[in-house]
């Protein structure tokens, strides 16, 4: 058993525990490499099936390749694909891209962090609680119909890794959130061995983190080993740039890299070329404490 096997087996164990203990379970799928590995692990855990819905929050500013890829995989894997969106904020145009042209200091100018708070954390909260409309893919037509299910989810599987960000390294595999999605970092339940917190009062919900022990390199090694399909945006298509982490078009800068496939990315990661560049460096909303605040607010 090598190290990747060990990581895989622990993640599978955690996924099965989650499925056992939460009737209202879903998995967040950002389309990025981490949550796509998570989706693959779910198929491992459940012998080719994914017995719970996948939830994607569509800010409407995602790069088009991401949406095409999402829908292709949803059809191919027969996923219960649920999409949520903050339509109100989009209609009101209170977003960063919509207000960028305004002069600095204009009260209507929306910052990147405020934009994330609406289109991501806000939309996520509403979608999980069922207070925002959900759309569900009809596997026969490939179209999205209104989801008749508006019940809240109580267990949410998330692809967070401990090596990504300082604050993530404080997570548990099973981490309760209160009614407002808030995360009480100071008072977390104990995790003895492989016994997780699986009993909870009505109103709380639990975030489940099967990838906590994985590193960025592990993720790519696993993608290679299992031949997991990934979005083309991760690879240089001839421009000498590629995305290292995927977000919204207006807030996501590609990095300089000529890695054209998984092998190249692995060479790049191991060579130490990216060593001094934080993984989310291309994400422009992450200034000091920005991410931390978003996380407390429920952002992944």
């Amino acid at each position: 058993m090598d190290h990747l096997d060990q990581l895989e087996q622990q993640s599978v164990y955690i996924l099965r525990e989650a499925y056992k203990h939460f009737e209202r379970l879903c998995m967040l799928w950002s389309i990025g490499k981490d949550s796509t590995v998570l989706l693959w692990l779910a198929r491992k855990a459940f012998f080719g099936h994914v017995p719970f819905p996948l939830v994607h929050i569509d800010t409407s500013f995602k790069l088009p390749e991401m949406i095409q890829y999402r829908d292709r995989l949803a059809l191919e894997y027969k996923l219960q694909m649920v999409v949520g969106q903050n339509k109100e904020a989009l209609a009101a145009k209170t977003t960063y891209p919509d207000t960028q042209h305004l002069p600095d200091g204009d009260p209507n100018k929306v910052t990147r962090v405020q934009c994330c708070a609406q289109l991501k954390s806000g939309a996520l909260r509403g979608t999980l609680h069922g207070t925002l409309p959900r759309m569900r893919m009809n596997l026969k037509t490939g179209q999205y119909d209104p989801d008749p299910d508006t019940e809240p989810y109580t267990g949410v599987i998330v692809g967070a890794r401990a090596d990504e960000e300082g604050s993530r390294s404080k997570e548990r595999y099973f981490s309760p959130r209160d009614k407002n999605n808030a995360w009480d970092v100071g008072d977390q339940p104990p995790e003895f061995w492989n016994q997780f917190k699986t009993d909870f009062a009505a109103g709380t919900h639990v975030r489940i983190h099967p990838l906590l022990d994985w590193t960025e390199l592990n993720i790519w090694e696993y993608i290679q080993r299992e031949s997991i399909p990934t979005v083309s945006l991760y690879y240089d298509q001839g421009s000498g740039t590629r995305y290292r982490s995927l977000g919204c078009g207006p807030c996501q800068a590609p990095i300089d890299s000529t890695a054209k496939n998984v092998e190249d990315i692995l060479v790049e990661l191991k060579s130490g070329k990216l060593r001094n560049v934080a993984e989310r460096a291309g994400r422009l909303q992450d200034g000091k404490h920005g991410l931390e605040e978003l996380r407390r607010d429920g952002y992944m």
């Binding site: 525990e17 491992k44 012998f47 300082g166 404080k170 003895f192 009993d199 022990d213 191991k270």
Partner: protein
């Protein structure tokens, strides 16, 4: 954070524990800096930030990723930090020392393979130095190194170091905890004896911290032990067009092959492995410890989560009484008058304290407390009693199936290890059941086929209560109602067994246990025939239920206590007074049968 690790390299999880302010975070920060494991510029950035805010620089700041943590100035949770040496990659879990955060320290330590315990040379052994030492031992962490830190504050004096080592080893010996492998004098702040050997302590010629860590060995693989796999779930994704019925779980120890005969304990059901299932993996005919896998069986068994799969020859222990060491973290004390939930591998059953042998305040030297309950942060040696039998091993035989947590309400309130199975009066009955079940000659019709034909599984509904309680009339009415509803129901009246099977036992000198044994074996045969058995007997009461259960394994039973006086408090599924209309009682039982999935095939 570094990205130069590699999946072929060994990964090793260590935990850093010790009393607050003794220098854990400093030690970790310094290790990161000295092994070149920080992103470039991080150290300088923190130094600059300190200058700007006019705070003295601390290595500990490197770890303080969380804003509120910086505000409070104490490490509040188990951060995971990566660093590497020539030998391997380390995940350090920086466990906090503040007493309030003991549960976080445990979460960190429970995942670790080795531990570094930090003691301040100037302050000496303190409350949490002791408590953490005990907990490491209880958690089963055998590779422990003690760093006597801040040697710079005591002039790098060998005497101070030796004195702390002697005192600390004596304390652990006294409370029966495992003594650490080695003590190392260090200064976290100045980097002495962490990554480089200190010139200031020529009197110390043992390994320095990094050498010590690199020398720790991975626990040997558990493949050569008796096979154990707690059943995590049984999957059947029929609506996806998949008819496989897959018994899933993670193998904790040993190995198993296609064709092997396995037993599920405590149900004692046996079957043969038909296939090993997986997704996107090469087909396998054999699999071993560490894998989260799944099996199909040649015989169709009704198996549920919490059963422990093993080979027949080396089956686990079964009991309702466990001798255990427990650390309690609940806000409310662990109270012998109350029921809790025991989670042991994948089993979850109601549990109660049967007996407290002793309670130890692990923070004090010489500290045995005479107590009737276990308070927050106490450690206790006690006997637990579960409501239904569980399968397990002693922690010495197999850790994963010898450890448990106790849940109070919604919270994990304690954790512990099983030291031994308590001898029980029922051990003989249990042995009888095992021998019977292991060697049972199967007919050509499976339980599942019978269930399909009958439209329900087998089950036992027991009416119990004193001789004056109107049990018989309810049992009769229930049998009739179920039969009319198309069920294969049969009323087993205890009197009929006394008349025939027990005719050789002179009623007066017959032991109660033998009466119960015979009654239960008769019921067992009827259950094997797929019948819904409704029993009513004066001779066998609630007090005998443990014996009945020992013989029946995991057969579904529903107990109805008919109690006109309203005095009975023992656990049962339904308690009635005896004046309720029959139809009402029948409706309740039918509901229970549905809930227990007897009438849902």
């Amino acid at each position: 954070m570094n990205f130069t690790d590699d999946s072929k390299r060994e990964q090793y999880q260590i935990v850093i524990v010790g009393h607050v302010d003794h220098g854990k975070s400093t030690l970790v920060g310094r290790l990161l800096a000295d092994t070149n494991s920080l992103p470039d510029g991080k150290l300088e950035a923190v130094r600059r930030e300190c200058l700007r805010t006019d705070k003295p620089f601390e290595y500990a700041f490197l770890l303080d990723a969380l804003s509120d943590e910086q505000d409070q100035g104490i490490t509040i949770d188990t951060a995971r930090v990566f660093f590497k040496t020539q030998a391997r990659d380390y995940i350090i879990i920086d466990a906090p020392g503040h007493i309030e955060f003991l549960k976080n320290m445990i979460s960190g330590a429970a995942r670790a393979e080795a531990a570094v315990l930090v003691i301040d040379a100037k302050e000496g052994v303190r409350e949490n130095s002791r408590r953490h030492g005990y907990i490491l031992s209880m958690l089963g962490i055998r590779q422990v190194v003690v760093c006597v830190n801040k040697m710079d504050l005591v002039n790098f004096d060998a005497k101070v170091f030796n004195q702390i080592e002697t005192e600390y080893r004596a304390f652990l010996g006294e409370i029966g905890a495992v003594s650490p492998e080695r003590f190392i004098p260090i200064s976290g702040m100045q980097g002495d004896n962490l990554a480089t050997r200190s010139a200031k302590m020529p009197w110390y010629d043992g390994p320095i911290l990094l050498e010590m860590l690199d020398n720790f060995q991975k626990a040997p693989p558990k493949v050569d032990r008796p096979m154990r796999m707690p059943v995590q779930a049984v999957y059947k994704f029929t609506n996806q067009g998949d008819d496989r019925r897959i018994i899933s779980g993670r193998i904790d120890a040993g190995r198993v092959k296609v064709g092997d005969k396995v037993v599920f304990t405590p149900s004692n059901k046996t079957a043969h492995i038909k296939s090993i299932e997986g997704f996107n993996t090469a087909p396998r005919t054999e699999i071993e410890a560490g894998w989260s896998t799944g099996f199909t069986l040649t015989e169709e068994l009704y198996i549920t989560r919490g059963q422990l799969m093993s080979h027949v020859e080396r089956a686990p222990l079964v009991s309702t009484r466990l001798r255990a060491n427990v650390i309690w973290l609940g806000h409310k004390p662990f109270d012998p008058q109350r029921d809790y939930k025991l989670k042991l591998h994948t089993a979850a059953v109601p549990v109660r304290i049967h007996k407290i042998n002793k309670v130890i305040d692990a923070s004090e030297a010489h500290s045995q407390l005479a107590k009737e309950r276990v308070d927050r942060h106490d450690v206790a040696d006690l006997v637990l009693e579960t409501q239904t039998p569980v399968a397990f091993d002693t922690v010495g035989d197999n850790e994963a199936t010898g450890r448990f947590v106790i849940v109070d309400g919604y919270e994990i309130a304690g954790g512990g290890i099983i030291v031994s199975a308590e001898e029980e009066e029922r051990d003989e009955l249990r042995f009888e059941a095992r021998m019977r079940d292991f060697h049972w000659v199967q007919g050509g019709v499976s339980a599942n086929q019978r269930a399909q034909r009958h439209g329900h599984r087998a089950g036992l509904v027991m009416f119990v209560g004193g001789a004056e309680a109107p049990k018989h009339q309810y049992a009769r009415a229930l049998e009739k109602a179920l039969f009319d509803g198309g069920r294969n129901a049969y009323m087993l009246d205890g009197t009929n067994i006394l008349l025939g099977i027990d005719a050789d036992l002179h009623f007066v000198d017959a032991t109660q246990r033998e009466l119960v044994r015979r009654f239960t074996e008769v019921a067992f045969l009827l259950l094997d025939a797929g019948t819904l058995v409704i029993s009513t007997t004066n001779a066998i009461g609630l007090a005998d239920y443990g014996d009945v259960q020992a013989l029946l394994g995991d057969a579904t039973t529903i107990i109805i206590d008919v109690d006109p006086d309203g005095k009975s408090t023992a656990p049962c599924d339904l308690r009635i007074q005896g004046n309720e209309p029959e139809a009402e009682v029948i409706a309740k039982v039918v509901d229970l049968l549905g809930k227990r999935q007897i009438t849902q095939v």
